[in-house]
Amino acid sequence: MTTTTGPLATRRLILQGAASVALLGLGNLPFAATPARAAANDKYPEEAFKQKNEADAIKALYGKTAEPSDKVKLDAPEIAENGGVVPVSVTTTLDKVSSISFLVTENPYALAASYKVADGTVPGVANRLKMAKTTKLVAIVEADGKLYSATKEVKVTVGGCGG
Amino acid sequence: MKRSLPLAMLLAFGLATAARAANEADYKAAYATAEAASKEAAGLRNQWTVTVSTLAAAKKAADGGDFDRATAAAREAEALAKASIFQAASEKEAWKAMEIR
């Protein structure tokens, strides 16, 4: 496994340090300080999960805004078979990805899930989310300190007989 | 459309509302006939959920002293019960029409 020594790693180190300082409240400084060892218990982004809308959640989580990119492949159903279990996944060809997040704009709290992607982990994740109603689904990928996003609409209807 | 005649009559009877305000006696009579019809529907194993809930609403309204609403609800419950009884009787043969052969 490539340990994080060598020039590439130090540049990454600085970047992470910068990113984490910017995140202030998140206090994952230990993450930057000891990347070589297992990342310390990075703090749960409490604040970000409290935000109601998408923009505030992204700001609380990353402290910057994202720009759409077709390098972020978001896969979600057109019509959810059930709003409680919506299979959603994202893959990306971007490299040096450090974080992936999902936001469901119409949910009571926009931020649904956020993943910290370590070095050597394939940048991609599949999970099952809840969606309150027809909504925009936004996937955010943090690569090399910049934020990229992809958006898709998922139709959700409530009730029905259960055929 | 021989079958629709009794249905129409049933409908008319169900919706006829008493002219003057209903009193407890009216309610008791209406509730008794509704309950009998509901028991018959249950006996045919073809009870409707709305019959049960309308009957309960009638009782609740009566307990609250609102005999107008209670009597109307009891009458409606009776009509629903009668409709489910009619449904059970007519389906005895009607189901064959849908059968895949």
Binding site: P77, E78, I79, A80, E81, N82, G84, V85, V86, P87, S89, A126, R128, V156, T157, V158, G159, G160, C161, G162, G163 | M1, R3, S4, L7, L10, L11, G14, L15, A42, R45, N46, Q47, W48, T49, V50, V52, T54, R69, A72, A73, E76, A79, L80, A83, S84, Q87, S90, E91, A94, W95, K96, A97, M98, E99, I100, R101
Partner: protein, 287 residues
């Protein structure tokens, strides 16, 4: 009160319309012929959906809608009924207080036999379903029976179904007039309209499978029980055949019967027999 009577009017007019709509059909001789019924039943669906592979019918709504099938396949990678399956396997191995286990009650230790249920018990003269047999096994060994609509029963039937996955449904009708009567009674129940909605099982699962009723795509009746018990996202939990029958009834505003009443046992007998040859795919995941 006005809305109630409007509702009543609506339901009665629906009943009238339905009578007019049902196309007159030649009334076949009244001799009960399950073999012919099964063939006609299967051909109806094979012709109505020519490009659905025969064994795919057991996947219910997913055989009718590609987008939903993809969502289902993603769920099947690590299905939500995994926990019920493990619980069922554990329960099957845990002996009763008297030291016996479920394996002692069933042929072949209960493994790989789900496709033969329900069967007609000639001693009792009635249909015996898997859920009934499991509870009878518990009672025979001094244990309290499980509820037919709760998780324990679903876990047990999930495990037994899993051990039969892929095996073709193989329901037998012995040459016994009572068995033919049970089959006919099940068929009648399946086609009989009930509830204020005035629907029969066939109104949804024969006349309009593949179409949507609100958000749900309706499953075809052919093979509809092959995936039982099912984990439904709607219930976010397991559902036995009994639970499915009871909820379907109340959705047409018909008061459900007791689980495992004769009508339910017979309609399960009818639906399983006409699906003979199609593979068992339980436990299933559904919307």
């Amino acid at each position: 009160m006005k809305t109630r009577s409007a509702l009543l009017l609506g339901s009665l007019s629906a009943a009238l319309v339905a009578f007019a709509l049902t196309s007159p059909r030649v009334v076949a001789a009244d001799k009960v012929d399950p073999v012919a019924d099964a063939k006609a039943f299967q051909n109806f669906f094979f012709q109505k959906f020519p490009d659905v592979k025969h064994e795919d019918f057991v996947n219910g709504p997913y055989s009718m809608n590609a987008d939903m099938k993809r969502q289902w396949q993603e769920k099947e990678e690590f299905p939500p009924y995994e926990f019920a399956l493990d619980a069922g396997k554990e329960m099957f191995a845990t002996p009763f207080k008297n030291g016996k286990t479920y394996a002692d009650c069933f042929p072949n230790g209960g493994v790989g036999i789900r496709q033969n249920y329900p069967y007609f018990d000639e001693k009792e003269g009635k249909v015996v379903t898997l859920e009934l047999a499991l509870n009878r096994c518990r009672e025979a060994n001094g244990e309290a029976p499980y509820s037919y609509v709760k998780d324990e029963m679903a876990s047990l039937t999930a495990y037994m179904a899993f051990t039969s996955r892929g095996k073709p449904m193989d329901i037998k009708i012995p040459d016994d007039p009572r068995a033919l009567a049970a089959f006919e009674n099940g068929k009648r129940y399946f086609y009989t309209r009930r509830g204020q909605m005035n629907f029969s099982c066939a109104s949804c699962h024969v006349q309009s499978p593949g179409e949507r009723i609100r958000a749900e795509v309706l499953a075809p009746a052919l093979g509809i029980l092959n995936a039982m018990p099912i984990y439904r996202s709607e219930w976010s939990g397991m559902g036995t055949t009994s639970r499915r029958f009871v909820t379907c009834n109340s959705q047409t505003r018909a008061v459900p019967l007791e689980p495992q009443s004769d009508e339910y046992r017979d309609v399960e007998y009818f639906l399983s027999y006409v699906a003979n040859g199609l593979p068992i795919s339980g436990p299933g995941a559904r919307p």
